[in-house]
Point group: C3
Chain length 260, copies 3
């Protein structure tokens, strides 16, 4: 009933995101039933915070102007207690990027952090050793302990995307076994995951559940797309098709996850 | 003979547009036979105005820097009496956005305004009640009267995109019944309409006719794309295919519109 | 063995590029086996120069802020003797654009210039007569003489994309007969060529060979894509598919070129 609810409510999902995959984020959001708004002009953040259901921040092609818009926006969404998703792309790779992400994490009410294991490692105080935007970090028990601790201390959900996805709250961890290796062969899969988290968080109060359903839906759409794709170009197209045709029944049938 | 003329002249269509759908606008423009130029650097607006046939402005992801480039560009195109198309995306949603669009509308020679009914309502002085970038406004007789009045007072063509499209001049109104619901399932359909208006206005003197042919062509390409699409991802791809294969014969055969 | 090497090394290709085709450049880079990083924030150029294998600069939607990031980045890559590819989009069309490209060419260690004949003509001191981003220049013997002279004087490789592609060094010229007319029907083909040059230059020391292999690979992928496409929309998708499936055997079998 989650996707059904999204298509009924049609939540407005405000993105301040990178210019590389912004079109994918917009089309994926529409495909699953939401209405995306991409707006990074600092002067209109307050007004958008009033009409939108959720804010998605992605630091992929961050710069000073856009960072300031993110701070402004996060302030207003936080004040209104509306969900904020942060995708701290390439965290750990440059000092300027780290400073912006740290400010977002330390000064604003980020509800969900969606990132790969390297980036989450940086967030929770492990050495991420990121290689650009690629992930080189393995999730182990120590990682999960630290992540749960962080989730508890900051009242945040951590979403670690990878071959297995982890949804981590202060109390529980979901491991998702759905997904497709093809998602690593296009740019934007991670960004679209963050958008999906935003979309589901826009209509589901429980942010752990929202993140879990978002990732399941995205991963299952990836599986469906992979089955009929001839390469990464058609995979990208078929993924949007799959999201636009996806329903709650599909997700329920194909979901492979456990709560630990 | 309109599309044939475009493919012969290959008009240069200068866009200052949003970074969400800019690639769609470029590919749609090329597909129909034009040569798009995306350039928002304030220092080169004068030179581009001299070589391009038309200017398309879209305020989707507007900010202060880009707004200033739009003013500069609109000034030069206006002085040269070259067509300017404005797509005032999300007009009515924020004060900063409204101020920029109002300045464009009040101070420069905008020839064609392409927008949804909510946005056009804001332009002509009705209460648009926009929900983000989505349209919530119904076109009725009062709307059309006010729109004609505005068109007359400002010597502008109004293009209202929706389930039925309206092309409104001071003297006549065209109602277009072509189109596909799928166009509302992707980002960029409205933006591509504005690009099409720019392309056709780049080679057709009569701006009412240019807008009518632009919308007919786009709507019919949407219909063709819908027939062979499995979702919104493939629709987006098939739409560009359809535009690239479209000819005047197709448009003539499939056009469903009336002049009232 | 070139593509095999790329897929093994997975070079990090840093782009500062336009927002029109940046997604195509990213997906094409991944498809051939590299890891693209799009980052134009001036404060992180030094750090990215240390971890990336190559820098690709594209002035398509240049502005002052991004130009300054390009200078900063080119300085660091030059100091590290890492390859820099420049795609001087629309060179010759505006003074501001020319000034930025000239500064890049005159003050930094650009290794490879990838451009159409009009743009290369501007670089080597012939009158380019560009019409926007389109090419109107014919490559003749005089052009090639001047280009070789320039290549020698500046220790640079010139890559002229067109119906026939030319790879020009101080000592030799390769003429490539592969390719597809469809590449002129989408935006981004030229930009993706520059990305390919960057990817191959990221793993091949000899920049002439790198450029030759990059263009052969791209052109052959275009041919493969054309064979199964119904228009420019599907061509764009099939091109990424073809790049993602391409291997050294394909390139060796289908390559049509001569060294003169």
């Amino acid at each position: 009933m989650y996707i059904e609810k999204i298509r009924k409510v049609k939540p407005l999902i405000h993105h301040i995101t990178n210019y590389v995959t912004v079109n994918d984020c917009a089309n994926a959001s529409i495909a699953i039933g939401a209405s995306p708004i991409m707006a990074d002009f600092i002067q209109e953040q307050e007004e958008f915070s009033k009409i939108c259901n959720c804010l998605v921040l992605n630091t992929g092609t961050i710069n000073e102007r856009v960072a300031n818009s993110m701070y402004e926006s996060a302030k207003f969404y936080g004040n209104l207690n509306k969900a904020i998703v942060l995708d701290p792309v390439a965290l750990g790779v440059s000092m300027a990027r780290d400073a912006i992400n740290l400010k977002l994490l330390n000064s604003y009410k980020i509800s969900i952090i969606k990132a790969n294991a390297s980036e989450i490692a940086s967030v929770i105080g492990l050495d991420g050793k990121a290689k650009g935007t690629d992930n080189t970090f393995v999730v182990n028990d120590h990682f999960l302990d630290k992540a749960c601790e962080y989730a508890k201390g900051h009242n945040r959900i951590l979403v670690v995307s990878g071959e297995v996805d982890f949804i981590i709250s202060s109390e529980k961890i979901a491991k998702i076994y759905n997904g497709s290796i093809m998602a690593t062969k296009i740019t934007g899969a991670g960004c679209m995951c963050a958008s999906m988290c935003g979309v589901f968080a826009g209509v589901i109060e429980d942010k752990f559940q929202a993140s879990l359903q978002a990732m399941l839906s995205f991963d299952i759409a990836c599986e469906m797309a992979e089955e009929i794709s001839n390469g990464s170009g058609s995979f990208r197209v078929n993924l949007i098709d799959a999201l636009s045709n996806l329903n709650d029944e599909d997700v329920k049938k194909r979901a492979k996850y456990e709560i630990i």
